[in-house]
Amino acid sequence: MAGATKSELVSEDTSDTEAVAAGAVGLAAVLFALSLAAMFELVTVTDPIAGVPMVALLGGLLVLLGLAVIGFGVGSRLGYVATNPRPTAGLVASGAFALIWFVVGGLVASQTLGLGTAGWVVASLVAGGAAFAVSAVPREDIGSTLPAGARAAFAGIVFLTGVIGPSWVWDLGWEQQASFNAEFTIPILTAFCSLLVGWAAAKAYGGFGARGRHIGAYVLVYLNALSIIAVLFLLVAFTVLKGLPGLFNSLAFGAGVGPEVTLVGVTFSLPVSWPFVMNGVALLNDVNGVLPAIAGTIWLVIGAVLFAVPLGVGAAVFITEYADRGRFTQVVEIATNGLWSTPSIVFGLFGLAFLVPRLGNKKSLLAGMLTLGFMLLPLVVITSRESMLAVPDEYRDASAALGVTKWQTIRSIVLPAALPGILTGIILGVGRIAGETAPILLTMSGSVAPPGSQTVDVVGGFQFSLAPPFVTNPELMRATSALPYQLYSLITAGVGQSSNIGAIDEFRWATALILLVVVLGFYAVGIATRYYFRSKLQHE
């Protein structure tokens, strides 16, 4: 195959054309960014940019970009540009182009030309078929540039001629009213076309063929990864920005400014006053806070961990170390995986039907703890089992060769070796359940905005008696709040219920932020633990 295609190893003469293609990719990226900005109303479609109206600018750039890409393809076909195209653009690309042009043909025929059903079906088929033929029949350089460039140029012409202008509206005419307006349609069309042309230009930059496809695909895959991270960053940054003012409202440091606490018989004032996390909600508070919800979340997590971790680790030990691989371990695996994917609201329903009637017939902290414990259980089993399976069998054999019993091997060899993995799994699982709303909504939720006096005090709540049930704890048995539930109830509460809280919006965002901080804190610790132990393992 080496001599079948004659290609220069160093292709100096292609640097100019490569620069054109790279420029087209760059222009597509600019256009994509511009359309995103327009979509989120950072710029409106009627705004002039450098004296040119936004619509005209977008349209002009699209036409330019489309023509550049088509020009590149035609130039390659005529031999002016050195490339390595395949005989055809491939079925996937052709199918995609056919679909795109099918939609374009149908919309133009039915909406712009006003043809009836038969008319638009014919137009759609003609446009789609033509696009398929154009991309499938000619060589790849034409097949992958012409339909894409034509699509962009067509959109540009539509914008430039004002068929879709700033005041364009397409009422869908549905029974429940909905319509597309220019402020949405123009950016989304531009974004789509710039992606399409950007892909075609990236392919052209790679000289089509295997290398071109490689580059075209990589551009899209990288863009996808980048946008996922961007969305994550935006979500977190937005919540932080909105939540910070409420969170640190009236924060003060200094001796004796904080609330009084009693530790081991000594009463003193904390040197910090942070009203949002130290207060409840009350009419006379200067700054309302979410202390009861924070305490509730902490106790929920403790209860769920105390319930689920021994059970989960024990089950993992049994199916990994004791049981022979067979029907039984399979059933356990299927059951744990099934439990893992069970929707959280179903756990809530289960808690409502199973726990609530048996725990004093009302919603309670204990019911919430156990429900979240049920949710945590499969996660603990799965991660513990994985990390125990990762312990090399040599360890077990060496220990067994010393003549110790199986349980001693497990206790002193397997569990310590698997501990990092188990810990990481538990921390990540706790992060997940700390943010769950649906299960506790049905099993433990209390008032919308609890006052500070309703903060749970589980340790102080235990009471012992000689009559059954011998041990009682009213703190465990009453409804309380937790951060995710607090946020939910603040969103859905009517005006009357939240009138105690002055700046309700600030309060909500601060609650969302502190929830995010708590949950992502668990995740950060979990991920950091994993990296720490992994790097330690690699150094050994």
């Binding site: 429940q176 909905a178 895959v221 329903l349 499969p378 709303t437 995710p484 946020l487 969302a512």
Partner: protein, 377 residues
């Protein structure tokens, strides 16, 4: 037992005999006081469980006995006690799944029975839940149709899958095949953190930012659209798809990829013609799990939707969002009782069974793939 074919009957009998023999050996080999301890512990734990089921105030007594017995056993016969305790925890894990099944089915039954329809004289329980289209638990005629909510769940799931499947698989490809090490160290925790953001926070941002924006953009009356709930839920299902698909892609032996690359293909050609086809079943299992996540997602839907059960008009109008199965439960459990509460449990049963099937299906696919790639396991 004469219904069974002969060989099966013989096999069963042999298995039973083997089990019996093993049991007898166990009894013979174990010291009597250890045996007594374990028996006492087991019986008292069963009694405690029965007491809890019956909501008895005496539950604490057998539980205390269990604690004492296991404590004694731990000190005197740690080997056996550890084994029995871990077995107990395993059984209780399965028991949880069984209890969920039993309890939500039991609670759902009254409404299923209420909605019985006679078809040609054959009563079919629950049929009326699916052939009516009105959810009207208070104003007569009382109807508990789940059709509007199923419609909503289906729409949201389709949109969410359209978002999560392609983006998730592309991100998995990126993480497992394309990204340089340093980039992966940033993107992978990022995807995990995306999974960590609580659903209510997604819902809150959707409720305060996306919903008003969508109402403005599409000239919709009121707020709440399946389209944007679907997009948000898709974002939440994305990490599940990414991590499971990445595992599947990573399980493809390096030798297969190297063999392809040695023929002079580009990385992308190797991915599309070797890695992806070989990992196809694993990747589809990932998508199935993502679909399961999307179906069960509750809080974002509850907060962002209108909470007024009904079909959109026309049916494919995704710009209006009424209710999904999950949001129906979350929004209505408070003031529901009797048959209405039971109807919510029917919604829960539908969710549970659907997602359980998806989970089992994806496990089956993954097991098949592992078998194919790794030979006999």
């Amino acid at each position: 037992m004469n219904v069974l074919p002969n060989s099966d009957g013989a096999g069963l009998r042999a298995a039973a005999r083997r089990g019996l023999r093993r049991g007898r050996d166990f009894v013979d080999e174990t010291p009597p006081d250890a045996l007594v301890t374990v028996t006492v512990a087991a019986v008292s734990l069963l009694a405690a469980f029965a007491g809890f089921l019956a909501a008895s105030s005496l539950t604490a007594v057998p539980f205390a006995v269990f604690l004492v017995a296991t404590g004694y056993g731990w000190l005197r016969h740690q080997e056996l006690t550890a084994r029995v305790l871990t077995l107990t925890t395993t059984v209780s894990t399965i028991l949880v799944l069984g209890l969920i099944l039993v309890f939500i089915f039991a609670e759902a039954w009254p409404t299923v029975q209420y909605a019985t329809v006679n078809v040609f004289g054959v009563p079919i329980p629950g049929l009326r839940l699916f052939i009516e289209t009105r959810w009207s638990p208070v104003t007569p005629p009382i109807q508990y149709s789940l059709v509007p909510m199923i419609h909503g769940t289906v729409l949201v799931t389709i949109i969410a899958t359209a978002v999560a499947a392609p983006l998730g698989v592309a991100a998995a490809l990126f993480l497992s095949e394309i990204a340089p090490k340093t980039v992966r160290e940033v993107v992978k925790p990022g995807v995990e953190i995306l999974a960590g953001i609580p659903s209510i926070v997604y819902g809150f941002i959707g409720f305060t930012i996306l919903s008003p924006w969508a109402a403005d953009q599409f000239d919709i009356v009121g707020q709440g659209t399946y389209l944007f709930v679907g997009i948000v839920v898709g974002l939440m299902a994305l990490p599940t798809v990414v991590s499971v698909a990445e595992d599947a892609l990573n399980s493809i032996p390096e030798s297969m990829k190297s063999g392809s690359l040695a023929l002079g293909t580009t990385d992308w050609q190797t991915m599309t013609s070797i890695t992806l086809p070989a990992a196809f079943s694993g990747v589809s299992a990932a998508v199935l799990l993502g679909v399961g996540r999307a179906i069960g997602e509750t809080m974002a839907a509850t907060v962002m939707l209108r909470g007024s059960p009904g079909l959109t008009k026309p049916l494919y109008n995704v710009f209006y969002g009424n209710d999904t199965l999950t949001s129906l439960i979350a929004a209505n459990y408070g003031d529901a009782d009797g048959l209405q509460l039971s109807a919510l449990f029917v919604a829960g049963v539908i969710l549970f069974v659907t997602v359980l099937f998806l989970s089992i299906g994806s496990q089956y696919i993954e097991a098949r793939m592992r078998q194919k790639l790794g030979g006999a396991d």
